[in-house]
């Protein structure tokens, strides 16, 4: 980092080590002696994948690490205006927290108390820390809500959190965090749980507040594209160590560390579509050149492909009770029709609540459709009896979003893989099932020893491989990937996407690829279907839709994607 005068530095961290107690004998070092500075009036981004120690670092600054199972190593110092935060008493620390240093969390829904109005929660901060009277605090709260861009703040101050949208809830969280005019705002993945369009608004808001209030922001994220839009300085962490730190232009234009390069290139990009995504090993083994110049894959339908599945006018309504006898209909999906070509991928894009997951579950018969039909082999899947549907069930499979919850924790991997074969009576007998399971493990790139292990012994990416292997045992024709890579780290995401692509090339399966991530869909899909509020707004070949979006909603979605670093000109308005 550029040497600075000491009064330009708000927080200086030296040799920070944090260990967690795993069980009686083992300690796990989450942060391994890191050091960095947060200058006054600037945004520092802490980037890393899960387990990199970025959130632990933030909690250490706030003094919020759990006392019972964590220890801060000797020699660690966190200097805030020449006071070592690690040596302050509980009381002094509490005074500092929420006043000089405050934090916004990832999940606004669970960070706000659902039984109090937002006004109450903001005024509580003001009366507690700033010593205002209730009347003053309320007036100030309205001002704050206006500042963070909540419409009609005088009315919204008496709203309960559930009456606000996700983006508005995050705005309220930000209002609470800046209520006492902090010098340092720590934002821990503040936009990860939000839709792209909302994400952009929140990022703009944080950048704007930073500039207006001349405070420092420590922005924690896993997404380098977001960092490029907001940060002045970037710190890349991995496994509790700092891999690289420097000004944002240096990180994006001339990354020195292999890991930083990998993070920048493992994510699918809108402009390019290599045959195979580079994975982290390519960079750590120093072969980035090959990855850069990989041949491009062309996508799209010519129009004469064989159709494997056709959905006609699918609708799904949920009914909620209203009053004593009344019922209110909520149309989650309305009149959705599409065709899926054999061996091709249909991307399904939309924000939360757009009904894209509902479409996937309806195709699987995981819940009953309200109307429409799904033709598969010329037969309507939706009108079949459960018994009839059994033989088709095997041929359409789904991979869920969260690999941590989609595998039964009480089953071994062997049991998980063999169960579908037992249910559908595939193959003959135990031995063949076992051989098949081993073959599938090999196919998804897991060692044979995994057979006897339990899901909790695997990382997220490995678990998603197990889920894929489970689907493969049934030799499906159609695979629905419902946000299947959204919960994975960037580097792992690339590996799983490559695996899915290899399997499609080899086995000729058709994919329905559901995701909110437009870049991933662009990379995977031949045809893209954009959904909004339960309806299809646009459906076209993927290159077509990204180059020449027709519908205004599609245009809005595409313009909200964080583009990363766009050179000094792109970010210049804020620097």
């Amino acid at each position: 980092m550029i040497p600075m005068r000491s009064d330009d530095i708000l927080v200086a961290i030296h040799g920070l080590r944090v260990s967690f107690r795993v069980d009686r004998t083992t300690m796990f070092e989450a942060v391994k002696g890191i050091g960095f500075d947060i200058p006054v009036n600037s945004t520092v981004a802490l980037v890393g994948e899960s387990g990199s120690g970025k959130s632990v670092t933030a909690l250490a600054i706030l003094g919020l690490l759990p006392k019972e199972n964590s220890t801060i190593g000797p020699g660690s110092r966190i200097l805030y205006r020449d006071r070592n935060l690690l040596e302050l008493s509980q009381g002094e620390m509490r005074k500092l927290r929420g006043c000089d240093i405050s934090m916004i969390f990832q999940e606004p829904m669970s960070s706000l108390n659902p039984v109090f109005t937002v006004g109450f929660q903001i005024t509580e901060v003001l009366t507690e820390h700033a010593g205002l009277t209730n009347r003053q605090a309320r007036a100030r709260a309205v001002e704050l809500l206006r500042e963070v861009g909540i419409p009609e703040p005088e009315a919204k101050i008496d709203a309960y959190p559930f009456q606000l949208s996700g983006g508005q809830q995050q705005r309220v969280m930000i209002a609470m965090a800046i209520a006492c005019e902090p010098k340092l705002l720590i934002a821990d993945e503040p936009t990860t749980a939000l839709d792209v369009t909302i994400q952009k608004q929140i990022l703009d808001l944080i950048a704007d507040l930073q500039k207006r209030r001349r405070m420092s922001v420590l922005f924690i994220t896993h997404d380098l594209a977001v960092v490029g839009e907001i940060a002045d300085h970037v710190i890349v962490m991995r496994d509790g160590e700092i891999r690289e730190q420097g000004p944002v232009h240096q990180i994006f234009e001339a990354p020195r560390d292999g890991y930083t390069q990998a993070l920048l290139l493992c994510r699918p990009q809108l402009a390019r579509r290599p045959k195979r995504l580079p994975v982290i090993d390519d960079f750590l083994n120093r072969a980035p050149a090959a990855a850069q110049d990989a041949p491009e894959r062309s996508r799209g339908l010519r129009g004469d492909e064989q159709i494997v599945l056709e959905a006609r006018h699918i609708g799904k309504s949920f009914w909620s009770r209203e009053g004593l006898f009344g019922q209110r209909e909520f149309k989650a999906v309305q009149d959705v029709s599409f065709k899926l070509a054999m061996g091709k991928t249909l991307g399904l894009v939309g924000e939360s609540g757009s009904g894209k997951t509902t479409v996937g579950l309806t195709l699987m018969r995981l819940h009953d459709a309200s109307s429409g039909e799904v033709l598969f082999d010329g037969k309507d899947l939706l009108s079949m009896s459960p018994r009839e549907a059994m033989q088709y069930k095997r041929r359409i499979q789904i991979i869920f979003q969260n690999p941590y919850s989609s595998l039964n924790p009480r089953f071994t991997v062997g049991q998980i893989l063999m169960e579908p074969m037992q249910i559908h009576r595939l193959g003959s007998g135990e031995q063949e099932h076992r051989d098949m399971a081993y073959a599938m493990l090999e196919k998804v790139g897991l060692p044979g020893a995994s057979f006897f292990k339990y899901p909790h012994e695997f990382s997220g990416g490995q678990r998603q491989r197990i889920a894929i292997a489970r689907c493969l045992t049934m030799k499906p024709d159609v695979l629905i990937c419902d946000e299947s890579v959204s919960a994975l780290d960037v580097s792992v995401q690339a590996q799983v996407l490559n695996l899915l692509q290899d399997l499609q090339d080899e086995l000729g399966m058709s994919y329905i690829f559901i995701s909110h991530d437009l870049a991933v869909v662009k990379y995977m899909a031949d045809q893209v279907m954009v959904m909004n509020e339960g309806k299809i707004v646009e459906i076209a070949n993927s290159d077509e839709i990204y180059l020449r979006p027709q519908h205004p909603y599609t245009k809005k979605l595409l313009s909200s994607i964080p583009r990363g670093w766009r050179g000094p000109g792109g970010n210049g308005d804020r620097l």
């Binding site: 795993v22 069980d23 009686r24 083992t26 796990f28 387990g51 579950l361 699987m364 995981l366 059994m390 069930k393 095997r394 499979q397 789904i398 869920f400 979003q401 969260n402 941590y404 919850s405 989609s406 595998l407 039964n408 924790p409 009480r410 071994t412 169960e419 579908p420 249910i423 559908h424 060692p447 020893a449 006897f452 292990k453 339990y454 909790h456 012994e457 695997f458 990382s459 889920a467 489970r470 049934m474």
Partner: protein
Amino acid sequence: MIQTATIDAGPGHTESPGLWVLAWRRFRHDSVGLVSLYVAAFFLALMAASAAGLIASDWGKEVGVSHAPPGFMGPGTTVTPTQRAAMSSASPEVSRGKERDDSGIVDPLADVLVQIRAKAPPGSVDTDVADPLADVLAEIRGQSGSAAAAEARAPTLIFGGDKWGRDVLKKTIKGTETSMSVGLAAAALAALLGTVFGALAGYYGRWVDDVFNWFYSVFTSIPYLLLILSIAAVLNQKGTMTVILILGLTGWTGIFRLIRAEYMKHKVREYVQAADAIGASNTRRMFVHILPNVSHVVLVQLSLHVVLFIKSEVVLSFLGFGVGVDTVSWGSMLNEAQSELLLGNWWQLAAATIAMAMLVTAFGLLTDALRDALDPKLK
């Protein structure tokens, strides 16, 4: 947790620890839990040995003098053997159980009685009329071990004797068998009913849930003791089996609610949806997929209810609705102790209470330790 597990599992491993094994590893570090496990295991062993007839099978034998004090207190101070001999020769009834008249009331006819008895010839009881059944009676006495009756009774027993001179220690062991088997069997029955009902109601929801909830509401709307007494009246026979049925049929309600809630939570989890996607039937999803994931709740409830039902059995037997007169349980011991305590004979009460308190405390702590060990943080 996840991190260590991944590190531990080196390439050489073929078998790896399941969640139960990991739970046991956590449990092993809980010293309180381990001690209570040993205590509970000790009681189980007692129960098994007693049920197999290895120990305390002769608990009904009248081996000591009536109300024999515990060995560590020495022979009774008020009633020495010599006094007893004198007294029994003076008044035969006394040896039938009313030897010490502590009431302080002087029988005004005592002297007359003694005179009459002195006149009467030996053999006949207290009248000149010959007992027509005397021979039969003698025969019966001979069969039922007159030798034993004649045999000198022990003045003290290890932990004292009851009114009939039965060994309190053996009674307690036999009572352990009764009370624990009632507790375990009733808890198993209640857990079975609660789990099956809860699984059905929680998994299917809608009208199935409504039916079970109505059933549940009816059961819980009746005062507990009244319900127990009415079932006891319907079954109309005393015995261990009846008590098990009463407790099991009334005790499933709490478990039902918990399991129902767990099933409602789990049925929307992705692993259950995934099981649906691969074509697993409802029954398979309910009992092969979800049940192992809620089994820790069942286990904790089971051990909680063992404690509850042991106490309930004691209360029932104390009230006289419990086990029959030919069996002994901690409850019937406490019932007897009620009158004994007036005489200052505390040992039967102490024996039953100590045994019960030890088991109940151990089981309670065991439940706590189980809950901690089984807490599925790994999910």
